[in-house]
């Protein structure tokens, strides 16, 4: 993903957006986790799919409608990047395998990939129609 040459100010704003995204992720995962007693990490799935949709939309706006690189850096790289996570997703899969929930692990990993790719593709595709 191309990014503008960073100024200190832009890097600072990307950092703040990333911090906000991380807090949003933690709150959403916590909220979903305490409401649902489900071995499937639904909260992480929701976070990653919704973040993929948003980044897909931003990427499409950048490709087809000339969205500025600074906005793409702050909202796309910063907010979406801080919000979504691969590390937690990979840990959760190993946690499910380790605790004997093999089917849930496969469903989570494959289903998560399909959901996030579909969300990203939908985001890019929607902006192409605009």
């Amino acid at each position: 993903m191309s990014a503008p040459s960073p100024t200190l100010g832009l890097a600072l704003i990307v950092a703040l957006a990333g911090g906000a995204g991380a807090v949003l992720r933690a709150l959403l995962i916590h909220h979903v986790g305490v409401r649902r007693d489900d071995p499937l990490p639904v909260g992480t799935l929701l976070v990653n799919a919704s973040g993929s949709l948003l980044l897909g939309i931003l990427t499409g706006l950048s490709l087809y409608h000339g969205l500025g690189t600074h906005l793409l850096a702050v909202i796309g790289v910063g907010l979406c990047g801080g919000y979504t996570t691969w590390s937690t997703a990979s840990w959760e899969t190993i946690h499910l395998l380790h605790t004997g929930q093999r089917n849930t692990a496969v469903l989570y990993t494959v289903g998560g990939l399909v959901a996030c790719l579909a969300a990203a593709a939908a985001g890019i595709g929607l902006t192409a129609l605009l």
Binding site: G19, N48, W86, S87, T109
Partner: protein, 158 residues
């Protein structure tokens, strides 16, 4: 400090988990101001580190997204390592996990960029790179969690 209560009962199980893999990495016991600030700071640092790496090693659309791959693989290794270590120091450094695992590694790694880059590879018709990118991220990431966890468990005194 209240001297009447030298040993307040722990809300969690008093015995640390014998194996960190029994734990989901995200704490489910409530998010107060301290952990949220730690998550914000860690998330900001992890995100800006990924941003600066991506700026200095730009990968043009149509090329293999090796920067994101390395970021996500290193994050998988690190989370495997850091969950047992932060669990071990949990009582004396309760903010270590929100800062390092939920915040920094969450901000460092990214699923949205993974999804968009893979989608663009497929859109360009580069199915070989699409499959290789997803397989390397998933298989490599899962193996590195296991490797990091094995290393982390060894560093924690039994």
């Amino acid at each position: 400090m209240d001297d009447d209560q030298p040993h307040p009962p722990s809300k969690e199980s008093s015995a640390p988990a014998s194996d960190a893999l029994d734990l989901p990495s995200v704490p489910l016991f409530g998010l107060s101001a301290g952990p949220l600030i730690a998550i914000f700071v860690g998330g900001a640092l992890g995100t800006v580190a990924r941003y600066l790496l991506a700026v200095h090693h730009p990968v043009a659309q149509g090329h293999f997204p090796w920067v994101t791959l390395l970021i996500n693989l290193s994050g998988s290794l690190a989370i495997g390592l850091l969950v047992p270590l932060t669990e071990h120091v949990g009582s004396s450094a309760p903010l270590a996990r929100p800062l390092l695992v939920v915040g920094f590694l969450g901000g460092w790694t990214t699923y949205s960029t993974l999804a968009v880059e893979a989608t663009l590879l497929a859109k360009d018709g580069d199915i070989a790179s699409f499959v290789a990118y997803l397989a390397a991220t998933v298989v490599g990431g899962l193996l590195l969690v296991v490797a990091g966890h094995a290393l982390g468990q060894r560093m924690v005194p039994a």
